[in-house]
Symmetry: C2
Subunit: 116 residues, 2 copies
DNA sequence: CAGCTATGTAAGATGTTGCTTACGCAGGTG
DNA sequence: CACCTGCGTAAGCAACATCTTACATAGCTG
């Protein structure tokens, strides 16, 4: 859980994750997508992703092929689901008990214009 | 996006987020749930959460009440959705073109026992 | 207004991250 | 076997994150 979110917190690692999302790529080929940084740096990012279970490694001859591992995201997905589901429950209870003043509920609804 | 995941990467901040998930709590009351660390430390965590848009602050007299802000998670949710949706698309294309050897597809399915 | 409470901010110590260069090693190729 | 290619690891360094203690500030309360 902790390692997963820490791994995802880095933009380079998210970019790598998108790269190996559809295709299975060799480490060097992945590194070639990041000309701004050295190849060992990318290798270290790949290690973090592998430790977090977000990618799988398949050795193929001289190469090491990386592919996205969907189950690696399961705990983050679970965390989000827990957040959202609990949220609905809280809204329901609050509405039933009418614990909040009306203007508070209105403000809460109003702030949810983006995605609620 | 970046700030959100960085904010979520810390276990203390996730705990805070769960605390203010249902109730609206004052900073001091939140800090009281973390006897192992000082009150300013919690205050700084609250700042990170607020900067990431994951909580909203409502000043009430002498207090500062914190509440979870659901929309703050929207970009993370979008990231996950993009991952999963693209994943389904990739599976579909691969299955149609039969690009992978059968044992590869079996291995992929087999590793998804946790949550797929 | 004096003083108390609740809270944020500043400064600094310490651990952690993310890079670099240099090196080691496995695996294919002549 | 000698050698090249592809990759990971080690060591070192600069930047950043996370604590601490000390201090500043806003708002009640008598």
């Amino acid at each position: 859980m902790d390692g997963t979110l820490r791994a995802l917190a880095d933009p380079t690692r998210r970019a790598i994750l998108r790269l190996v999302h559809d295709d299975e790529l060799a480490a060097g080929e992945i590194a070639r997508h990041f000309p701004a940084m050295s190849r060992p740096a990318v290798s270290q990012h790949l290690r973090v992703l592998a430790d977090a279970g977000l990618v799988v490694i398949r050795p193929a001859g001289n190469l090491r092929l990386y592919r996205w591992r969907p189950e690696g995201l399961s705990d983050v997905t679970a965390f989000l689901a827990q957040m959202w589901s609990g949220r609905l429950a809280a809204l329901k209870t609050a509405a039933e008990r009418e614990e909040w003043p009306a203007r508070e509920r209105a403000k809460l609804r109003g702030s949810g214009e983006a995605r609620d």
